[in-house]
């Protein structure tokens, strides 16, 4: 019998939990041991609804470090590397697909780091 959790959290393949970092909005991922990382490769990958729900619930509870946590699809390469599962997530991981103006070092101001 399907558990209530599985009924609420439908997943169709491997997923990770992602969010934006509170301090600067950078894209971050939830690790299996409850930390956040900017490296998709270090994200905890879940394959069942129960595991996904648990990972997401813990991430949502961490409201001080992360904003707007949600489940995002990923693809696993034959070598086991984790890749974004759709265009939106690819852009979130890699940044805009267009060329941006060069980042200068402002006199009197810090270089913007993201």
């Amino acid at each position: 019998m399907t558990s209530p959790l599985e009924r609420k959290t439908k997943i169709t393949g491997p997923m990770v939990v992602t969010a934006n970092r509170l301090t600067d909005g950078a894209v971050i991922f939830r690790t299996a041991d409850g930390r956040w990382t900017t490296q998709l490769g270090l994200a905890g990958v879940v394959n069942t609804a129960v595991a996904a729900h648990e990972l997401l619930a813990a991430a949502v509870a961490d409201d001080v470090r992360a904003v707007g946590a949600y489940l995002a699809p990923v693809e696993l390469t034959p070598e086991g590397a984790v890749q974004p599962g759709n265009l939106r997530e690819r852009i979130r991981v890699s940044g805009p697909t267009i060329e941006l103006p060069a980042v200068p070092v402002s006199p009197g101001g810090a270089r913007v780091s993201l």
Partner: protein, 552 residues
């Protein structure tokens, strides 16, 4: 330029202090995101795909050179050295850190800039004609009325929590450059047959998921009644607008559901009770606002001075730019100059900090320190002496804002799309870039005449695709980007919503598809000066459909 008074300065400074404390409490965990979100949105702070975005209001699209320098400073100090001018005459920074926002806002406040009324369910930044005050075809400067509405609506307690956002645009010209028909309230100032000046009021215009053109509910509103009548509209909307369904919450749905006549009656009933109260504008109140607009002291000059004529005869590139980007001014010997933020292959509406600084310097030298932002995502220097045009052109050319493509096919309006926006389904900027490269031949583009392409990355329609002569809407199908195309839309005084041409085309084919539409136009037009939009009106969409889908 409108000069803020002490009240405005205190209000903005207090808002910065308040937001600084809110950010501190959020970073410490004292405020949850649910509690903080509405507070940041009230200051124009969004969270997008990669970072926080700060949207800064540019009331009625008018900027001083000092304000432009401040925007350049914020871009350089707190962001990634560039900003994006939007279809609502605002500016967005895409990479700002939450902890830096209070300092950035404090720097902006010193120049009278802020993010109020750029987000949330309030009356948004009032927009108008970017040629206001200088256009030969206007009856008077509409910014006076936009400013009165700004003062009335800023932090208005009754209208800070409307069912949805609320956009007002004003024009006073015969040619509508402010797209008033696609606004929640569109105001057209004109002179009637009795020689009186007043407003034609339309309501319920808007794009997005359910596009409508505004319906006229008052053909002639006396100027003294502007604030009370707008207040009456907002009250009716606030009372009856739907709050149960975000997709049906805009006033356009209410006007559509009730019918324009019934809506107008509700407004009249509400208005009757308040029209002669404190909101009735007496001449002194209007004069006080007029007096705070600093206007240039124009010299007595003649049109077409010898220096200009000589440059037009000797310099081909200058002439090409002049014919495209320079417009007649209401004052003899002066010109209105549009700066293209649509270079070949560039993101529409973006300007670097260096460009902003250079434009500010040029505004000081050549345009009485004033700059305008248009909803087409270009900039304007509104007070240029015609004798200065050759020198100004060389300077603009050096900084890359003199592409002579204003109003042409490569002058594309585009939202940030999926490259930045958390709501988008598809990218808009790369499509614009590819189209501008495809139509890089400006003599070909010039031969096509006025042709507006508008691109939106989702149904929210920030790129105003419904009113593009060619409108492109990005959609997502099974994880792939597709684009729906409409033709025949326009946002001016003959506003129309475009008609869908047919099934969406994949991203790989959209540039060819648009080129095929253009080829169909060249085949269908009756004569070289029949504009694309006029050809579509004359023949309808079917002949276009037959031609472009035959090859796709």
């Amino acid at each position: 330029m409108y000069l803020y008074d002490e009240f405005d300065r205190i209000l903005v400074a207090e808002r910065v202090a308040e937001f600084r404390d809110q950010v501190r409490r959020r970073l410490s965990g004292e405020l949850t995101e649910d509690e903080f979100k509405s507070l940041r949105l009230m200051n124009g702070v969004y969270l997008q795909l990669h970072a926080y975005m700060l949207r800064i209001a540019i009331p009625y699209g008018t900027l001083s050179s000092d304000q432009m320098r401040t925007l350049a400073h914020v871009a350089r100090r707190y962001d990634r050295n560039y900003g994006h001018f939007t279809t609502r005459q605002n500016l967005q920074f895409n990479w700002i850190r939450l902890a830096d926002l209070p300092d950035a806002m404090s720097d902006l406040a010193r120049a009278g800039l802020h993010g109020m009324q750029t987000s949330g369910n309030c009356v948004r930044n009032i927009t108008t004609d970017q040629w206001a005050g200088v256009a030969p075809d206007e009856t008077e400067d509409p910014r006076v009325w936009a400013e009165l509405l700004r003062q009335h609506s800023t932090l208005h307690p009754e209208f800070s929590f409307l069912p949805r956002k609320f956009k007002i645009a004003v024009t006073a010209a015969s040619h509508d450059r402010a797209a008033v028909k696609i606004h929640d309230i569109g105001l057209r100032l004109y002179t009637n047959e009795l020689g009186e000046s007043g407003f034609e009021v339309s309501v319920g215009g808007g794009l997005g998921r359910t596009p409508f053109l505004g319906k006229i509910i008052n053909p002639f509103l006396q100027k003294r009644d502007l604030l009370s009548y707008v207040e009456a509209i907002l009250r009716v909307y606030n009372q009856y607008g739907r709050r149960d369904n975000i997709y049906k919450a805009r006033i356009k749905i209410l006007v559509h559901d009730l019918g324009a006549a019934a809506f107008a009656k509700e407004v009249e009933d509400e208005w009757r009770a308040i029209r002669d109260g404190t909101l009735a504008l007496d001449p002194a109140a209007i004069a006080a606002v007029v007096a705070r607009f600093r206007r240039p002291h124009y010299q007595q000059l003649a049109d077409d001075p010898p220096e200009l004529v000589a440059a037009l005869e000797s310099e081909r590139r200058f002439k090409s730019w002049y014919l495209n980007a320079v417009a007649r001014h209401k004052w003899a010997g002066y010109a209105i100059v549009t700066l293209s933020l649509k270079p070949e292959g560039g993101p529409p509406g973006d300007a670097t900090a260096e460009q902003m600084d250079a434009i500010a310097d040029l505004a000081d030298r050549y345009s009485h320190s004033e700059i305008r932002v248009g909803h087409e995502q270009n900039l304007v220097l509104p007070h240029v002496r015609q004798t200065d045009l050759p020198r100004l052109w060389r300077a603009l050319d050096e900084i890359g804002v003199a592409t002579p493509n204003i109003g042409l096919i490569s002058d594309i309006i585009a939202c940030p799309g999926l490259d930045y926006c958390s709501l988008a389904n598809a990218r808009a900027i790369p499509v614009a870039q590819e189209l501008s490269r495809r139509f890089r031949d400006l003599s070909h583009a010039g031969g096509l005449g006025r042709l507006h392409i508008n691109i939106s990355g989702c149904i929210n329609a920030c790129g105003h695709h419904h009113v593009g002569h060619i409108g492109i809407l990005g959609v997502e199908k099974n994880g792939e980007e597709f684009y729906q195309v409409t033709i025949g839309g326009r946002a001016d005084e003959q506003a129309e919503l475009g008609t869908l041409l047919g099934p969406a085309v994949p991203a790989t084919k959209i540039t060819d598809f648009v080129e095929d539409i253009v080829d169909a136009y060249l085949e269908l037009r009756e004569r070289p000066d029949e504009l694309f939009i006029d050809t579509v009106k004359r023949v309808g969409v079917e002949p276009f459909k037959e031609r472009v889908y035959a090859v796709h």
